[in-house]
């Protein structure tokens, strides 16, 4: 069995939200980039403390939602009306082998649109929701089942009542002593060098 290891970074525990909050502020001010705090629940204002930027998720979702609307519009107008032929895109209708029919004296032109709103609405929501889900996973880089932090025994507390700061070795300002010192200075406990087995 190999014992080849790679340093992932320093992990320090803090007791209480307040300590963690203030610690985060100081790490931020110390100019670290590749670091993060781990807590059992989202902490109010922590983004400010860490100096994170806002999530871009909403923009993705907007695009997804609009796609849904367009899909629904096309699907319905294509199969139920002669709209596309009337604007000279008849080949689409031919391609989809559509068969617009007259029901309850409702026309097969674009004026029947009101009847299509419900489905357009639903598909908008559906597409947005899925964009949210998959966009989120993408942004978080999850699922990632294997992670160096899981090596640390004490880290398991994060999902109960543990509050951690982890400064990664990849950070340019990372240094065995300097970082450890910083963590001690800002009141980190059980400071641990997390190593990743290879």
């Amino acid at each position: 069995m190999s014992t080849l290891k790679r340093v992932h970074g320093y992990l320090a525990e803090f007791d209480g939200v307040a300590d963690l909050y203030h610690a985060a502020e100081q790490v931020r001010d110390a100019g670290y980039q590749r670091w993060d705090v781990h807590s059992p629940f989202p902490i109010h204002g922590m983004d400010k403390a860490m100096g994170n930027s806002k999530s871009i998720l909403p923009k993705l979702v907007f695009v997804g939602g609009m796609t849904g609307t367009c899909v629904a519009f096309t699907l319905q107008t294509l199969t139920q009306t002669n709209f596309w032929s009337s604007i000279g895109l008849g080949f689409l209708q031919k391609l989809a082998e559509t068969y617009p029919t007259v029901v309850q004296a409702k026309p097969t032109d674009i004026f029947t649109l009101p009847a299509f709103f419900p489905v357009m609405f639903e598909l908008t929501i559906l597409f947005s929701a899925f964009t949210t889900l998959f966009g989120l996973l993408a942004l978080m880089g999850l699922p990632r089942w294997n992670h160096p932090l899981f090596v640390s025994k004490q880290f398991a507390k994060f999902s109960d009542d543990g509050f951690f700061v982890c400064i990664e070795a990849r950070d340019p300002k990372f240094s065995q002593e300097g970082t450890k010192a910083l963590l001690e200075k800002i009141g980190g406990k059980n400071i641990e060098l997390v190593e990743d087995e290879l």
């Binding site: 082998e97 089942w145 294997n146 992670h147 899981f150 090596v151 087995e197």
Partner: protein
Amino acid sequence: MGNFFPRWTNWLPLKLAVAAGFIVFGVSLAVPYYFTPKYTRVGYEPTQPVPFSHKIHAGQLGLDCRYCHSFAEVSSHANVPTNQTCYNCHGPGKGNIKSASPKLEKVIKAAETGKPIEWVKIHKAPDYVYFNHSAHLNRGISCQNCHGQINEMEVVKHAEPHSMGWCLECHRNPEEKLRPLDQITNLNYKPEQLNRAGFYEGLLKKGIKADEIADTIESGKKASQLDEILALASGKYGEKVTQLEVGTQLKKHWQVQPPENCTTCHR
């Protein structure tokens, strides 16, 4: 204790996603091809009890389709000929053609026993589809439009998908198929071979105004006699007669309006 999940699992989601993508793509391509009449019906070419060759009869001998399929023009059903029909030419003591040939054994036997020959059905509309041959044959749709080049088939095979979409296609654009009534059973019909003068003369003889014809060729145009029409036509369609030319004329003057209602075929 270390990680519970091995490192490779981190790539798993991505791999699965990619694989799924490929599968979905493949299925959505395969289904429309393999699961539609285009694939499942076209090319169906069963061996028949009697090796009757349409190639010889309809092709080389130029027998008219209606000689055997005699009710196609009057009935919904294009009847398969009675054994008598074969017997008239091939039967010993009748036409006596090749009556000794072993290939005709079944025909002779059927004539004696009265038990019919069991031909294998090739073109089969579903039970809830009511297709009517006479409606098509009387209005300028040829056998060949739905059954293909029968006159070149040694053994008859399914030439067209006969799916609902396929039917609608033609019902929407009849001008792409319509042809003069005397060409219905001409399986080698090519519009180019039509004599343009003769065609328009025929229309005029039917009492259709020259102006209407001219207008159909190019809306707004007028014409008083044949050569003007011909001039117009060759101007629009070129030297040879085209299908579109024939089709649009016939559609207009026969008032061909193929129905697209459910009730046309489903009752």
